[in-house]
């Protein structure tokens, strides 16, 4: 597999720090989607770009060791999660894809709002991450 020969030193050092910032920003975007700009897609995309940056800066094998899961199944899990939240509402006899929300008193966060939409958004984010990384991986792995 031909590694991308770029002056690794700068990229590797920067990316080691930047990746974590991007990851946190992605998670923040995902969680804040409900009331402020953000949401499943954008969160997933940012997370995916963080992982791609990782692949860019180091070669495929090391990242494979650190992130052992096969991203196709991540995507599959994500889509399953999304569809099951919809399917779940059938079990309650409510029209398909109904989301509910309620306010709970959580110890740390105080009065927060838990909704099934976040599970749906999580599914979407996972799927987006899985798909983008699969595509990037399969193209770069193919190399030959």
């Amino acid at each position: 597999m031909k590694t991308l020969k770029i002056n690794d030193v700068i990229l590797r050092t920067i990316s080691r720090i930047v990746v974590f910032i991007i990851l946190t920003f992605g998670v923040y975007l995902f969680l804040s989607g409900h009331n402020t700009p953000g949401g499943g897609f954008i969160g997933g995309l940012v997370l995916a770009s963080a992982i791609v940056l990782l692949y860019l800066s180091t070669d495929i094998e090391t990242v494979k060791k650190s992130l052992p899961m096969d991203f196709k199944y991540v995507a599959a899990l994500g889509v399953l999660l999304a569809t099951f939240t919809g399917f779940g509402s059938i079990l309650f006899g409510v029209p398909f894809m109904s989301q509910t929300f309620a306010y709970f008193e959580l110890p740390i966060f105080g009065e927060t709002e838990l909704t099934t939409v976040t599970i749906f958004e999580a599914g979407v984010a996972l799927a987006v991450v899985g798909v983008v990384v699969t595509i990037i991986l399969s193209i770069s792995e193919d190399g030959g």
């Binding site: 700009p37 949401g39 995309l45 995916a48 889509v79 929300f101 958004e121 599914g123 595509i135």
Partner: protein
């Protein structure tokens, strides 16, 4: 008592059983089992003759598709009784004959299966009263005739003959179907009986004439009338029992049955009289004229069948004139023609059936049917010769045989027609007797050819495959029965007339009350009258022409074979194939650019054209939002970036320019207050550019677009036009504000969906289904990319697919 529906179904049921019987009883010839079907049916129907003769009709309905009024109604009356008896009677004789004709090594189960399929279908045509069910069986007869003609499917000639027969009869059938639908639209019912009663008020309906012509088209193609006769000679590729059964006695008579059945419907119209009689006359002449030149006996009989069918058809046409005058004492003068038609129908089946079986014997025993190699068979094959003699003399219309009676009545009808003064007959009436007479002369000539060329003269054993010997008794049984019938009918014609023909007359002329006085008393001798003189003339001139046959034979070489209808049929098929190949390859040339150009052109012409034509374009700037300087420069940047993409030298610059476009759109999204979109656009744009660069590592650097100058200009014009149309429609849509959008509902998203970000609420909750499906799209894309890269075609299974 069996209902007629069941009678029609028996052959189909037995046809399904034949393959099992064939496998079960290897030793016995499966034909014997099959023989029971027509015989039992014949007996059942024969028992009904007396009651049908007394005017009783049997109706039985089984609802097939009630909502569409397709009911399987069967209707037994005089006319259908004649045909049913013919089908089952001749059928049993043919099957008896085929048991000896077809050797055991042929695929008998197929043969008998098709034959029974045909018999059931033919009975269906003759009995069914519902137009659609009649069409169902009509097409089944074409299909079974296709299968039977192509029985020896390894021979190219029989395949082509079968295809020609099927194409012509099915096209005629489809034309007839359209005629039936027109009838249904006019009268509102599918049942023939109801149509007959209500048709009188629709005669001036503008669908009446087209329906008539289309129904006639169906009849003419099936009965091999003049322009469509070309399939019958090629259908002779079928085994002889099939030719004897389908292509002389029953299937080709379906068209005649149709014309007879629809005479009360369309008969009152003058056009019907002219078309049916004229086409009948032309076929009569053309058939007999061409029969004389044939060297193959079977082809000769085929053309003779065509001419005899023409004769019956013209008689039916002449008979329809009786409907003009309504029921009166002297209407017998005109109904006589129809009576003659039915009478000749039966006679023709008898003598033509016998002749075909004789030819079958010659072919089976001596291995050839070519007149030039036959001769002198009289002494060595006495029985065959006697049958052939009876058959051909009866066809020629000589006294001691039934052919003479019906030929006499034919001449009488043609003479009577001249005296009428309606339908501008005085001027054209003359052609009927003249053509009838000339055609009968030729008929006489080719009957003499059959007798003298085939049986008399000196024997040429060296030219035959097998030594001349008499056929086994089994094969002779059937033709001898038919020959006996030929002679029997001559001596007791009125037995036939009174019991079978008379009830049929009442079904052709339902409004004519008691048909007793419609049926003339058939007698062999009724003084010197024009018909007798015409017959004597035929015999004399015929003998003369036959004697000097070699003298005038070359006239057949006058018009070359290029202008026959056969050549026309082949030309049409061949040119349609090659022509469509040229045309289709012209526009389906595999070039994506051409396809896209056609699509864009259609878009410009349709949308742009209609926009201009309907004046839908409207434009005003007043309601536009204000804009300031930096937005204008952003637009300018995007425009410049887009245009320079066209002239980018390397693919990297092009991709970067695409990146510029993407990011400036992201900025626009921010300006237009769509933060979510801006975020998504930014990341998607960067990932897409990354993908582009990744893909570039596997793709070559692009060469300069070396499209010819002219195509570049066309592409330019098309793209500008497409852009223009999009702009114009966009501007007029901006100006159209009759409705306000439904999105005001989403504004109280906080109460409804518990989220402040309306866009995310829409995506997650209001239109969550779209998002879910969209994630599935993403998933398929990801999986698709993975499988496309991992699944490589191995070399060896390349060859199948590669053209």
């Amino acid at each position: 008592m069996f209902s007629i529906n069941f009678v029609i179904l028996i052959p189909f049921i037995v046809a399904a059983l034949v393959p099992f019987l064939y496998r079960r009883y290897k030793r016995i010839h499966v034909g014997w089992f099959v023989l029971f079907v027509p015989i039992t049916l014949f007996v059942i129907l024969a028992r009904l003759i007396p009651s049908v003769a007394s005017g009783k009709t049997y109706v039985h309905t089984y609802e097939w598709i009630p909502t569409l009024d397709f009911n399987f109604t069967t209707y037994l009356d005089g006319l259908s009784m004649i045909f049913a008896l013919l089908i089952t009677g001749v059928g049993s004789l043919v099957i008896l004959y085929s048991i000896f004709y077809l050797s055991a090594k042929e695929s008998l189960q197929h043969f008998y299966c098709y034959l029974l399929l045909f018999m059931g279908a033919m009975l269906g045509v003759v009995f069914s009263d519902n137009l659609m069910v009649l069409y169902v069986f009509w097409e089944l007869t074409s299909v079974s005739s296709f299968l039977l003609i192509a029985f020896w499917n390894h021979r190219k000639a029989s395949r082509l003959g079968a295809q020609k027969a099927m194409l012509i009869t099915v096209s005629g059938g489809i034309a007839m179907l359209v005629g039936f639908i027109m009838l249904h639209t006019m009268t509102g019912s599918f049942s023939i009986r109801e149509i007959i009663t209500t048709i009188s008020e629709f005669t001036d309906h503008d669908l009446f004439i087209p329906a008539m012509i289309l129904v006639l088209l169906g009849a003419f193609t099936k009965s091999a009338q003049f322009p469509f006769h070309i399939w019958l000679p090629d259908a002779m590729e079928a085994p002889t029992p099939v030719s004897a059964y389908l292509h002389s006695a029953t299937m080709v008579k379906a068209g005649i049955y149709l014309v007879a059945r629809f005479t009360p419907v369309f008969g009152t119209d003058e056009l019907w009289f002219w078309v049916v009689s004229i086409v009948g006359m032309i076929t009569l002449f053309w058939g007999s004229f061409n029969a004389v030149r044939q060297t193959d006996l079977k082809a000769l009989l085929a053309f003779s069948t065509i001419s005899q069918l023409g004769l019956i058809m013209s008689l039916l046409g002449l008979g329809s004139i009786a409907l003009q005058f309504g029921y009166s004492s002297d209407s017998i003068l005109y109904t006589q023609a129809t009576f003659a038609a039915l009478f000749h129908l039966i006679n023709h089946s008898t003598f033509k059936g016998a002749l075909f079986m004789v030819v079958g014997i010659l072919d089976h025993e001596l291995g050839t049917r070519d007149i030039r190699r036959l001769g002198g068979l009289m002494t060595l094959m006495p029985f065959t010769f006697t049958v052939a003699l009876i058959g051909s003399l009866s066809m020629a219309g000589l006294p001691p045989f039934n052919g003479f009676l019906s030929k006499e009545m034919f001449f009488a009808a043609t003479v009577h027609i001249m005296e009428l003064d309606i339908f501008s007959l005085p001027s054209f009436g003359m052609i009927f007797p003249v053509v009838a007479w000339v055609a009968s002369v030729f008929t006489f000539v080719y009957c003499m050819i059959i007798i003298f060329k085939a049986f008399l003269g000196k024997a040429q054993p060296e030219k035959l495959d097998k030594p001349i010997h008499e056929a086994p008794i089994g094969m002779l049984l059937a033709p001898m029965i038919l020959a006996a019938l030929v002679v029997g009918i001559f001596f007791f014609p009125n037995l036939l007339g009174q019991y079978i023909l008379q009830p049929a007359m009442s079904s052709i002329y339902p409004t004519f009350g008691d048909t007793a006085d419609l049926t003339p008393n058939i007698s062999a001798w009724h003084g010197i009258n024009p018909e007798l003189l015409m017959t004597i003339g035929v015999i004399l001139v015929g003998a003369l022409l036959f004697k000097f046959l070699k003298l005038w034979k070359p006239i057949y070489g006058l018009f070359s074979s290029r202008y026959t209808f056969n050549a026309l049929y082949n030309y049409v098929l061949a040119s349609s194939v090659s022509g469509s190949n040229v045309v289709t390859n012209r526009y389906m040339n595999g070039l994506l650019r051409h396809y896209l150009m056609y699509i864009f052109l259609f878009f410009i012409v349709a949308v742009g054209g209609y926009l201009a034509y309907s004046g839908a374009f409207s434009f005003d700037m007043s309601t536009n939002a204000p804009f300031n300087v930096y937005e204008v420069c952003l637009v300018a940047i995007m425009a410049v970036a887009a245009l320079s993409m066209l002239f980018a030298k390397s693919r990297i610059t092009a991709t970067l320019l695409n990146g510029v476009l993407g990011y400036s759109i992201a900025i626009f999204f921010v300006i237009f207050r769509a933060p979510d979109l801006a975020l998504t656009q930014l990341v998607v744009e960067s990932v897409t550019t990354a993908l582009f660069l990744l893909a570039f590592s596997h793709l070559p650097e692009w060469k300069k677009e070396n499209l010819p100058k002219q195509t570049k200009v066309i592409n330019g014009i098309i793209s500008i036009a497409v852009g223009l149309v999009v702009v114009l429609v966009g501007l007029s849509v901006m100006d159209y504000n009759q409705f306000d959008t439904i999105s005001s509902y989403f504004e109280n998203a906080y109460e409804l969906a518990g989220g402040a970000n309306i866009v995310n609420a829409i995506l997650g909750d209001f239109r969550g289904f779209d998002t879910m499906l969209e994630v599935v799209v993403l998933f398929i894309a990801g999986l698709g990319v993975y499988s496309m890269i991992k699944l490589r075609a191995k070399k060896e299974d390349e060859n199948i697919e590669d053209q």
